[in-house]
């Protein structure tokens, strides 16, 4: 199955790289938005922060929010393949059937990791975002968030009945989750009840992990001063498993009607 999934992922990569608009949206738009927000919010927000925390928040929030948009668009190619008949053609081959969803997961995860790397390296180069101070924790968080966002994209893409439905629903849900999850403004400045509501979204756990690393210099485990990222990552992995399970169920029910 892995071999077939890699063949399918290579196909999706080729199609993505030939779509210049998609490439621009995936890589340039998050950087532009993070630059604008980072510039507007730049400067320390308190002595407890280790670096230019406004920019850190801007790059974290773009890493979280824009990645979800990009990965929903990427996973949404399933809808196009279904309407164009290529999905059935793949299903008619002996090896592709079970690998189709796995291949989408592989390519969306790979794209996510590249996008996160580009975004944070840009932040480090031009906004002093402290990505190298705890590189292992940040890398782990990027990998886990790439998995969660990919599974989320697949769940949305397989739950929607049409591409238009996918675009409408995903925009609404991503913006809603980003607002309550702390991607628009730090949850720490919101009322307690708002912070609790936010915890129902993967965005809040991802933002918590990025904040703990980039604002407080946290590592995997808790210290006397600051909590670590182990709990947020564990919750994100759990959410990832649930989302991928849902994506698999939706895919079987709606894309392989038998």
């Amino acid at each position: 199955m892995l071999h077939s999934a890699l063949i399918l992922a290579r196909k999706d990569l080729r199609l993505f790289l030939r779509d210049r608009t998609a490439v621009m949206l995936a890589f340039l738009l998050p950087i532009v938005l993070a630059t604008v927000m980072g510039t507007a919010m730049g400067g320390p927000m308190g002595k407890m922060m280790v670096a230019s925390s406004g920019a850190s928040h801007a790059f974290s929030s773009m890493a979280v929010m824009m990645l979800m948009f990009n990965l929903v668009a990427s996973a949404g190619t399933l809808q196009e393949e279904r309407s164009e008949g290529t999905l059935d053609r793949l299903r008619l081959t002996p090896s592709a059937g079970p690998a189709i969803l796995f291949g989408k997961l592989l390519i969306t995860m790979a794209m996510a990791l590249v996008q996160l790397a580009v975004l944070f390296l840009f932040g480090a180069a031009f906004f002093d975002v402290p990505v190298f101070e705890n590189a292992a924790a940040l890398t782990a968080t990027c990998i886990v968030w790439a998995m969660t966002a990919s599974a989320l994209g697949l769940a949305f893409a397989t739950a929607a009945r049409t591409r238009k439905q996918l675009e409408g629903l995903s925009t609404l849900l991503i913006l809603g989750m980003s607002a309550v999850g702390g991607a628009w403004f730090p949850r720490e400045i919101a009322p307690a009840w708002f912070q609790k509501v936010g915890l129902a979204t993967p965005v809040a756990w991802a933002m918590d992990a990025f904040h703990r690393i980039l604002w407080f210099g946290s590592g995997f485990t808790d210290t006397a001063e600051h909590p670590g990222i182990a709990v947020p990552l564990a919750v994100l992995l759990l959410i990832t498993a649930v989302l991928f399970f849902l994506a698999h169920r939706f895919y079987r029910a709606r894309f392989t009607v038998r």
Binding site: K11, R14, G85, R89, P94, S95, G97
Partner: protein
């Protein structure tokens, strides 16, 4: 002359040489019975035309037999395997040419072929050979590196066909493989299908082009409302539908006046109402415009830039 067949002929019972045996196949979508007790058997190497009006159940039948859909009832054996259970084992041995152009427009012709070859398990030098064969068979060698979304409809149709043949299937389902293309490409696709038949591949061919079925198929099955309502050779269908009353078409050789032919027939005691000049438009078109494929000179904008 064309006659309308309304007589139902039972499909012969299956034998050990059957590529396909279907008994009492049913499939419903909600309250609509798309396939309703279909019986069908096809011998190995046979080319069977599956005809029927839109909604007759042809495409649903092909989807069931090619493993995409599960039947609600009845039994089916394709190359000795149950399509509902065999999955990959059966898919390795069959090819399906879908009605829609199911290709990746953002990939080149060669990339599309390589993708499907790899997914069918054709690798290494075999892959190179088969892709090269397919490009040649589709008449697309010169455009192998062009993106498919720059192709004309005919080029896409030809590529759509050969993508299903890369793994050398024993049985091929063809769902209107010549729909919506110019006569040159239609003829080219059809010649490829005829070559498959000549090589001993079993073919199940659905189309609305009666002439194609007459030219290609050993046997014809006519479906309506999910059932087979006629099954036999063209001659058998004529006879079963009351051949005595069927009109016949005479081909007059050059120099023979139609009126004289009618008079001679009448003198011989043969009733004839007249001789109607009838032309095979496709043959005339091909004789005037040639059989050469016209991929590079599409002036109406259908074909984009490579």
């Amino acid at each position: 002359m064309q006659t309308t067949t309304t007589t139902s002929i039972e499909s012969p019972p299956g034998t050990g040489d059957d590529a396909l045996v279907v008994r009492g196949l049913t499939k419903a979508f909600g309250s609509t019975r798309a396939v309703d007790g279909l019986n069908l058997s096809v011998a190995k190497g046979e080319a069977v035309g599956l005809l029927g009006p839109n909604g007759a159940g042809k495409s649903t039948t092909l989807s069931i037999l090619s493993t995409l859909l599960d039947a609600d009832g009845g039994t089916a054996e394709v190359l000795g395997l149950d399509p509902g259970a065999a999955g990959p084992d059966l898919r390795r041995r069959i090819g399906v040419v879908p009605q829609d152009i199911a290709l990746y427009g953002g990939l080149t012709a060669k990339e599309n072929l390589e993708l499907f070859a790899e997914l069918y398990g054709v690798a290494g030098s075999a892959k190179r050979d088969r892709v090269s064969w397919a490009l040649d068979a589709a008449g697309l060698e010169a455009r192998s590196g062009s993106r498919v979304d720059t192709f004309s409809g005919g080029m896409k149709r030809r590529l759509n066909l050969v993508c299903a043949l890369l793994h050398g299937p024993e049985l091929v389902f063809l769902d209107e493989p010549t729909a919506g293309v110019d006569p040159q490409s239609r003829n080219h696709v059809f010649e490829q299908v005829e070559a498959l038949h000549a090589a001993g591949t079993t073919l199940i061919y659905t189309t609305h082009q009666m002439g194609e079925v007459e030219r290609l198929c050993d046997r014809i099955v006519i479906m309506d409302r999910g059932r087979s309502i006629a099954d036999g050779t063209l001659e058998e269908l004529h006879q079963a539908s009351g051949g005595a009353g069927a009109a016949r078409q005479l081909r007059l050789l050059d120099g023979t006046a139609p009126a004289e032919a009618v008079r001679v027939l009448a003198d011989a005691g043969i009733r004839a109402e007249g001789v109607e000049a009838k032309r095979d438009l496709e043959s005339i078109f091909l004789s005037l415009t040639g059989r050469e494929l016209r991929d590079g000179s599409d002036a109406d904008g259908e074909e984009g830039q490579a």
